[in-house]
Subunit: 378 residues, 2 copies
Amino acid sequence: MATTVGVIGGGQLARMMIPAAVNLGIEIRILAEQEDMSADLAATGVGDYRNRDVVLAFAETVDVITFDHEHVPQEILRELIARGVPVHPGPDALQYAQDKILMRSRLAELGLPVPDWARVENPEDLAAFLAEHEGRAVVKTARGGYDGKGVRVVTHEHEVDDWFQALAEDANGGALLVEEFVEFRRELAQLVARRPSGQIVAWPVVETVQRNGVCAEVIAPAPLSAGRLADVAGDIAIAVAEGIGVTGVLAVELFETTDDRLVINELAMRPHNSGHWSIDGSTTSQFEQHLRAVLDLPLGATGTRDSWSVMVNILGGPSSGTLIDRYPVAMREHPTAKLHNYGKDPRAGRKVGHVTVSGDDLDDAVYEARATAAFFQD
Amino acid sequence: MATTVGVIGGGQLARMMIPAAVNLGIEIRILAEQEDMSADLAATGVGDYRNRDVVLAFAETVDVITFDHEHVPQEILRELIARGVPVHPGPDALQYAQDKILMRSRLAELGLPVPDWARVENPEDLAAFLAEHEGRAVVKTARGGYDGKGVRVVTHEHEVDDWFQALAEDANGGALLVEEFVEFRRELAQLVARRPSGQIVAWPVVETVQRNGVCAEVIAPAPLSAGRLADVAGDIAIAVAEGIGVTGVLAVELFETTDDRLVINELAMRPHNSGHWSIDGSTTSQFEQHLRAVLDLPLGATGTRDSWSVMVNILGGPSSGTLIDRYPVAMREHPTAKLHNYGKDPRAGRKVGHVTVSGDDLDDAVYEARATAAFFQD
């Protein structure tokens, strides 16, 4: 059977697939964007994922293609399929991750809970939407946004004129997505994995804490999520995965609104920051599960190993030296913390690693995880 | 600080250090005996570890040297030290793993509990020992034995004449080790890790089940080991590690005798089969701990993640095809089992992988782990 997984993109998500591949004895080959990237150890090629020839040549060396990111162009994905290369998630699913207007439109079609939204082509369209939504809205570029980039909260129709201008100059044209500003109590994320043959499993819903648009902390499972909330979150993510035919891991970011609804914020069709806790906290990590799913192998158990797992991102990294320079003190003070170092140079705001602490007491786990991460951010 | 660990030997122990190194962002380089070995992914060199030039050249590419096995010759180890390369465990400790007579002698000196033993050079010596021990004894070659090789239970002084003959023809001369045949209730193993600067930690003592001299199963922690038994086992292993200056992971195999004593059977100065459960069952795996120890980093917590973890070796592998060919059925039937595939070709008796199942119920965990492993051995 197929045993060589090819990953396009050499970032930390590809890197964290390596331990899972080593454990399972699955060969992993990575097409990295450049030398010395996070997933360097298993990089068998370096090249531009937007270059058809580069991707096709890489695909010849593997049994199935998957991804560290969602940016491989549709025409290349479709050519891979035409050549008989399994691609998971496939282009029909990935198009929704690549275009937020398409995604909102499809989710609405499926009857899933999304914020009010509209496609806007100019300040007049935006003014109309603002008028209907108490003068406040969130505008997003349809393509290319991540970690808070390409997202602006606006109260005036001219606050995204630069984006309208850029679209006017773009040969492909296009529009912006505008959404109602959702008053939420907290943010949640629901991770699921789905095999090509249909099996689907869900991890417990988690609470995510964002800072400056970037995931900062995750608590698994989300506090006060037992019962109905967990069921609804799971049902939503399963409906998304099945409705748009996702294969592999899918993360659905959700708002828990102040009026007690769950609405979908964003999707990611790959292992996701909200699932990093699963490496140490779940019987099956999202990275192992992703490999199993893309090889169409039966999925592993998704239960928690401890009452609580808390993941804190290391953002930016230390002001001097490397993460490893801080290990002697951080490890001495926090012997239960699991350190994950992505092998990237420190840079303001960059995700360079994360810490997970698991245990029976949530307050202790939160304290330990934050305190450990703090050693690496000064 | 030092961040590149060099591992001499490319077997599954080196392989299982790779995920730990990836997580911690520690560079690992492996000197493999040949191409396509188990630890191939991180092999940066291929060569004979008995060749001084090969080892010295490899050592120039790393910050610290450690091992997948205990067989690197003393003179090469001592030359590395002379050249300023940190070696963990060092030659002063490793000599005891390399020569069982030296080991028994040192353990006796330290006042640690060992079976009655003697150094025997000929059948007459052996006859004398047998006469003193009810006509039964265990004879071991001093060097080169593993997994039951180089061990014979004898009732007559001429049953190891071939070994005496080989020693007589060996320019280095030498002798055999003879030990009393210990009547034991069960076998235990105590794993500890020690840093060069002295910190030492112990995992819970485990029960090991051997078949044909090879480790077949491990139950962690050992049933009925709470309290005194665990304390004594831990104290023995700590005394061994400190007494002979082991750095890195040390496994002490113990007999629990029918008259309620613990006596030392064998030592291994490296991650050990009796500690594989710790990958999935302990906060810190023996492989992560070994890397931390050899880099003289603070050691991680050694507690269990679940009430019980049961590890079952996959010995030999399937009669046809590969381990991965069996994944579709094994994974479907056993979603909680953690599969570890060493990437080795199946061969009778060979350790090609292992399965760990953790949970609150020991009987369930034993059943699941055995049933999963059975899919890979037919």
